[in-house]
Symmetry: D2
Amino acid sequence: MSLTDDDRRAIDELRAASHTTRRATVPALEAVLFEPLPVLDHGFVRVVDYMGDDAAVVQAARVSYGKGTKSVRNDAGLIAYLMRHRHSTPFEMCELKLHVKLPIFVARQWIRHRTANVNEISARYSILDREFYVPADDQVAVQSTANRQGRGDVVAEDVADRVRTQIDASGSAAFDLYDALLADDGPSAVARELARTVLPLGTYTQWYWKIDLHNLLHFTALRADPHAQVEIRAYAEVLLNVLERWVPLTFAAFVEHRLEAATLSKGQLAVLRRRLAGETVDLAASGLSAREWGELATVLGEVTESP
Amino acid sequence: MSLTDDDRRAIDELRAASHTTRRATVPALEAVLFEPLPVLDHGFVRVVDYMGDDAAVVQAARVSYGKGTKSVRNDAGLIAYLMRHRHSTPFEMCELKLHVKLPIFVARQWIRHRTANVNEISARYSILDREFYVPADDQVAVQSTANRQGRGDVVAEDVADRVRTQIDASGSAAFDLYDALLADDGPSAVARELARTVLPLGTYTQWYWKIDLHNLLHFTALRADPHAQVEIRAYAEVLLNVLERWVPLTFAAFVEHRLEAATLSKGQLAVLRRRLAGETVDLAASGLSAREWGELATVLGEVTESP
Amino acid sequence: MSLTDDDRRAIDELRAASHTTRRATVPALEAVLFEPLPVLDHGFVRVVDYMGDDAAVVQAARVSYGKGTKSVRNDAGLIAYLMRHRHSTPFEMCELKLHVKLPIFVARQWIRHRTANVNEISARYSILDREFYVPADDQVAVQSTANRQGRGDVVAEDVADRVRTQIDASGSAAFDLYDALLADDGPSAVARELARTVLPLGTYTQWYWKIDLHNLLHFTALRADPHAQVEIRAYAEVLLNVLERWVPLTFAAFVEHRLEAATLSKGQLAVLRRRLAGETVDLAASGLSAREWGELATVLGEVTESP
Amino acid sequence: MSLTDDDRRAIDELRAASHTTRRATVPALEAVLFEPLPVLDHGFVRVVDYMGDDAAVVQAARVSYGKGTKSVRNDAGLIAYLMRHRHSTPFEMCELKLHVKLPIFVARQWIRHRTANVNEISARYSILDREFYVPADDQVAVQSTANRQGRGDVVAEDVADRVRTQIDASGSAAFDLYDALLADDGPSAVARELARTVLPLGTYTQWYWKIDLHNLLHFTALRADPHAQVEIRAYAEVLLNVLERWVPLTFAAFVEHRLEAATLSKGQLAVLRRRLAGETVDLAASGLSAREWGELATVLGEVTESP
């Protein structure tokens, strides 16, 4: 991640400002406000604004005149209850606004979450910086055999080096053509909206993205999942850290009741009941498919999930 | 509107608090933060939280690192441009949270706007206060003959008094039954979720309501419209005032390009062109329906719209 | 539920029509198309239109040119997989349109689901029929002591009779005033939008409601839940039947992986693992709250949930 | 656009099927059902399913038991009224489902419309076909000087040929690397999710896309606009044709009150009033900005908008 001097100055200026407000304020989040948190080779997440805190969840759940909170312990209990029973509307009462720099193929996964507000830089209007994603050595992996859509073992270092070099050369060639088509933005430049079509899906873009806490938790749970592509998981990891700073009680309930919880089907519950009653149940006797059987074993820690 | 001492104290406590923040802050809105702004006989609007300001609209439109603003004049120009060309996403980057007390028949109109977050008090869980809407004398009117769904002339004062008395007696009788069914919330009380079914549609409810600026403008434009029911317009009037405090540049552009703008159809534009070319056009020659003809005359200030 | 002769004729006419189409068609749902399915004392659900079937879910998941299905067995497997892993977008590719008649207090719960399309009759424009909800004897119950928002034991028959009579009298009195204010819809009638404010929350309204299959499943799961109010559960029961007719494979997966599934928290899973390893774990040693402990026992069928 | 034999067979099979239904059916749309309608060099739009017709809009607006329509003329009048006054909910009661093949840079503009359902092919799961967009000669244009984000004059034919050749070579090189990285999908293949990052933004993707009529009109109005990029306008043109087949009354009202209508600001209306009153108003006296002045002149047909 590299910032121009102008960008750095603009950020520093925002961070130096200090205002007085009656609104709920979260010092742990203020500490990183406006600061780019690096992700991948050129990306970042910047927290640009926020509304509400843990107490605001409680306040909305109680539709109260005041803060709606008697004690941290009561708040934690109510928040856990709301999370467990999927009462999502109180969590919608907090809001986060981010400035994100990310490769276009990540942006295409990200944008599938519709309940958010987005302003993206326009490559019809602006000329894009020469920045595209090249995976680090330890991210160059073969196709997974277990998972039709994921990554398997990392390749040998020399293979990784070759792949990285090829991706880099391909991206550079595309940007060379882009520059040539734009002809220094001169009068014979092909329209930007046309020139950009040659750029690779690894090209970095930027957007402002605003979302409520409930939908942010949902987004983060999906994108921090081991089945998500590793590049978007890198962003989800940063979001987990931001959540912990911003709403620690909600974050703890989220880990307990969502991230590390599991949903068991009617058939899986039936197997559990039989086993707890002392019966030995094998796959054949379980009535489950091999896939569901394996998922149950994974949840119970009886096998380790292969990547 | 009447507050309990506890509610008043809770509000005063929130208003007395002062925090330091790096976030965009709007003193004119802070001035009324948490304070109930009265509406109708028992209702109110309280601004509970906000995110962003006029500069945040510009910042998002430019996807900038800093405030995204060079001067107030530039900001005003860009905001007017965005408003005129219905580039709505930058306005979605600001957010407002309200606590509203309102009659249920108003709440039922309000909730039709889906792009908002809501937490309402539950009459399954809580016992409702004995508060229901009785129109003021100057709001008791006959059915409009011009408008199939609106209000016409105000009735004579003695008739209005009688109507008010009847509505008041009817609501009181319903609340008497409600109280009897709940039997002082004792062990023989009928379930609250059942008892509340006898209460009138004029009964007051409360909710927390959170919405982005773009959708708030849309909501306000619809509900401040002369065709909206006068009771919800009373709330829209308060929202207009809140908007002016919060985002004065956006508010000015909203008045210019939405509230006091008009959309003319292809046929209406054709009539205009003929008239500007010197032709005298009457209804018969216009090709317009009588209704469209009348709407055009109203927009051009050539007739006054009847209520 | 009573229909006017005109309404009955209009329905019969629609049911008698027969068109030829290339679209996916579901005979079991066509069988009840347009027919009012009765709910509560005056309500109904009418299926008015539908788009897609089980195969359409598969077709969308595969983004295929054809039906996207090789065999019913493969389809069932894929649909169960999608349901289990919460891949919701293929289920959004089917759509259902209903005409529903329902008490306003039920409508207010129903409308909280935002991802749907709604057209409701307007009591500003039309005069409402004299129909309001009076609970059947076996639905008159005291406030639950276990559940802060639900219904407990049914009251004695004579008490139920009295309550029913009171509710009926209260609603009749409100409708009498409504009629008087409207003065036979004559020139001295108070505006309909004002007169309707005296009507009880039990008054029946009607709307057209359209929703995609994914959101319909979510709605139905929430509203068929034992914690939902019994009156809206009556509607959810009809929807379950409609779902079974329309998309039998999706319905079966929904029962297996949602309706009769359970989500266990990190702490509950830890208790399970210890028990399966042979350890005896009691509440004190479990690290769970009493509430979570009880919920786990209920899921495992070791206690029966009290109402 | 080229289809495999399997795809063509699957389509023919769907088109050959004939079912009996009680649902509203539109023969003019059935005529093109499932058939790929070509767009750009490799793209298409296929109508895969639909719900409702013009009468369904009327039926929902009236919340009626029957078709809700007395005559085509009445329906046309009501639909025009609803369109003019932006009563959007009845139009939400119709639904369209499409299968679309489109370049990724078009897909990225398209997906910004959030009120729709989408299932896209996954390049993590599948290997993409070697198809990418190369503009036709008459689409290779220089950057517009009037419009910061659009296309200006078409370049000379020899320049266009060179540009096309460069874009084609660049895309081919990227697909060559893609193929090499995938190594014939063999065991040493780099993960598909990684390999696809080198492909250009002009690469074709496919999705199922489902949307209600109100949102489809909004989408089409925005994307058929002269300021939209010409490549997405090519898709909007096909959608206009589909709309005309499907809902001819709604389409006519849409053209009259949206596509060829114009919104005039408070200031522009004031100028109009003065001119109609006989005053000669020039820019200086108008109180308008030069931009607004020019837009008014364009709407009134007094100048021709430059592209």
